[in-house]
């Protein structure tokens, strides 16, 4: 029922503005891929091209072996979930879910069974005879999900479905969507601007900017090995340190490299970074990315720099300690768990492991 979906060289222009720029992406059968980006990055346009509401100027959309590029949306067997739920207000919950099945001339008995199953899957079988106006936002979105999956689509498309809900509800619904998707094994394309959501729910995430995919990776890969400053900044908090390559070190395996680096601001301090996928040359200036939670306060580590605390912020589950280690160069450390945190003015040593840093060349910015 579900199939692999491929975008090949898809381009869409609106006048002078390029919304999607020669984009290629393969969503494997049963995979959950998220398009993550700020507004204007082209992620929604991309989704609507797959849905068939937007015709690309170039490129193709394949659903399984079929070239769906010229097909109108009603011939594409896609299930879509909208940000504003888009439930039909003049129909009951059950009638909403039945709608797609009726259009496919499914026999009545089977329609009823599949509707009940779908509603049970989202825990709403008791509300089948209610009207959308009588449901809460979260319930409406679950009905929308049931309506989209009951037709056994080739691909499930979700357009920022959780943006209209409040925070607590968002995480509940997030796991429900993931659960339903995995249970039914439906190929899924999800669009969001919320990086926390993207990381928590996806098999792979495509970070988009200016109509292009900047990095396509698993959530862990994206977080730990951003390939440019934009991705490093967009996904979570990062520290950026100006460093210079001192020399290559012996590597543990053939695919990654280890380097000795020095801080641009303090050449005497030598640091190590390991597991770098690219090659860098000696003397090259680049950026070292260290996540605040990878850093800790300790003087016993391979990488250790002295700094002075400038500010600390408490947010319940952790402290964020901002420090200055050179003339207007700051580094932030995240300390979680119940503990005391150093106050402003204190001199501390900040340390992190060599394999917890990512190197970005200066032109990846």
């Amino acid at each position: 029922m579900s199939s692999e979906v491929r975008l090949v060289g898809v381009t869409k222009r609106y006048g002078d503005h390029i919304a999607v720029d020669n984009l290629s992406l393969t969503v494997q059968e049963g995979e959950f891929v998220t398009l993550l980006g700020a507004s204007g990055s082209g992620k929604t346009t991309c989704l609507r091209i797959v849905a068939g509401f937007v015709q690309p100027d170039a490129g193709h959309v394949y659903m399984g072996p079929l070239d769906a590029t010229g097909l109108p949306p009603y011939h594409r067997n896609t299930g879509m979930v909208f940000q504003q739920y888009a439930l039909f207000p003049h129909m009951t919950v059950a009638e909403n879910v039945l709608y797609g099945l009726k259009a496919r001339r499914v026999p009545r008995q089977e329609m009823q069974e599949r509707t009940s199953t779908a509603l049970r899957l989202v825990h709403l079988e008791a509300l089948a005879e209610r009207y959308p106006a009588q449901l809460s936002g979260g319930q409406q979105q679950r009905v929308a999900l049931a309506r989209a999956v009951v037709i056994r689509p080739s691909i499930l498309l979700l357009d920022e479905p959780l943006s209209a809900l409040d925070l607590k509800l968002r995480s509940t619904l997030q796991s429900e969507i993931r659960h339903v998707q995995q249970r039914l094994g439906i190929t899924t394309l999800f669009v969001t601007h919320d990086q926390g959501e993207a990381l928590g729910i996806s098999d792979r995430v495509a970070v988009m900017r200016g109509g292009k995919i900047i990095q396509l990776d698993t959530p862990v890969g994206l977080y730990q090995r951003p390939n440019c400053r934009y991705v490093a900044n967009f996904v979570g908090m990062t520290n950026f340190l100006d460093v210079v390559i001192r020399g290559a070190l012996a590597s543990d395996n053939g695919t990654t490299h280890n380097y000795a680096i020095g801080l641009a601001s303090n050449p005497t301090l030598v640091l190590e970074v390991s597991g770098v996928p690219q090659k860098f040359s000696e003397g090259e200036r680049c950026l070292l990315c260290v996540r605040p939670e990878s850093a800790r306060i300790s003087s016993e580590a391979k990488n250790c720099i002295p700094a002075t605390v400038s500010k600390r912020t408490f947010s319940g589950d952790r402290w964020i300690i901002e420090c200055v280690y050179a003339a207007d160069q700051t580094i932030a450390v995240s300390l979680s768990g119940p503990r005391s945190a150093p106050g402003p003015g204190e001199q501390i040593d900040i340390a992190w492991e060599p394999n917890h840093g990512a190197l970005l060349s200066n032109d990846d910015i």
Partner: protein
Amino acid sequence: MGAMTEAVNDRKIFRRVLLSPVKRRWAYLLLPVLMVLLIVFILPMINLGLKSLHPYTGLGSEGSELTLSNYIAFLSQPFYWQLLGWTSILGVIVVACSLVFALPLSYFLARTKSRWKQFFLLLIIAPMLVSVVIRNLGWLPILGQNGLVNWIWLNADLGKEPLHLLDNYIGVVIGLVHALLPFMVLTLISVIQRIPPELEEASISLGVKPLGTFLRIVLPLARPGIIAGSLLVFTLTISAYTTPAVMGGGRVIVVSTYIQQQVSTLLNYPNGATVSMVLLALVVLLSIASLRLGKTEA
């Protein structure tokens, strides 16, 4: 002692707010308008109402006693019921024709992002900008025996006989639909615009073609607008005078042309007044119904 002064103070504040200088000034502004309405509209209506309560005693004269005989005659003679009936049927036909034209037009205008949208809107509203007499006279060279339509009809050999499109009900329907379409279109556009486009997209993504989506999603949700527009067009149709008079060539009798006949030609003021009052009552009832419907759906 303290409680009493407080109560007195409250009353003073109340009086001051209610009859504050600002409010009083606004009230004075309304007076000229009310005066005009009184003289031009309300007084003549009362006069007309009074005339309907006097018996007809000959050309241009009426008896001095008050009587309900005019109304009794109206209710008991089948002619008047037929008159109301024919006029109402005309109303229904005009509403139906307007809907047939207005629904696709309004849908297109509500959903289009084309630069021509304003232009098309202007084209549709254009009839309202022209005097009603000129507007109807403009149909004569098109619908007449030697008019444009018959020219095409006869020259393209679509028929042997010329079509009779004027001086009959067909002409009246054409004239009224042309004149009242803007009302229907504007009502429908505002209703359709309030239907979120995502609903149609959801329907299409679930496999229903655009026509099916229009019938199953847009129409049901536009129903309040359709009813409101229909009531409006119906009310305007049954009270229309100039269009049935011109396009009907004097041969089409609806309530308004009958009233004109009675008052101007036969000088039978009581009868004309009676039928006018009945028509007025009907229009007021329909307007109240329309307003009520508008409130409940909102």
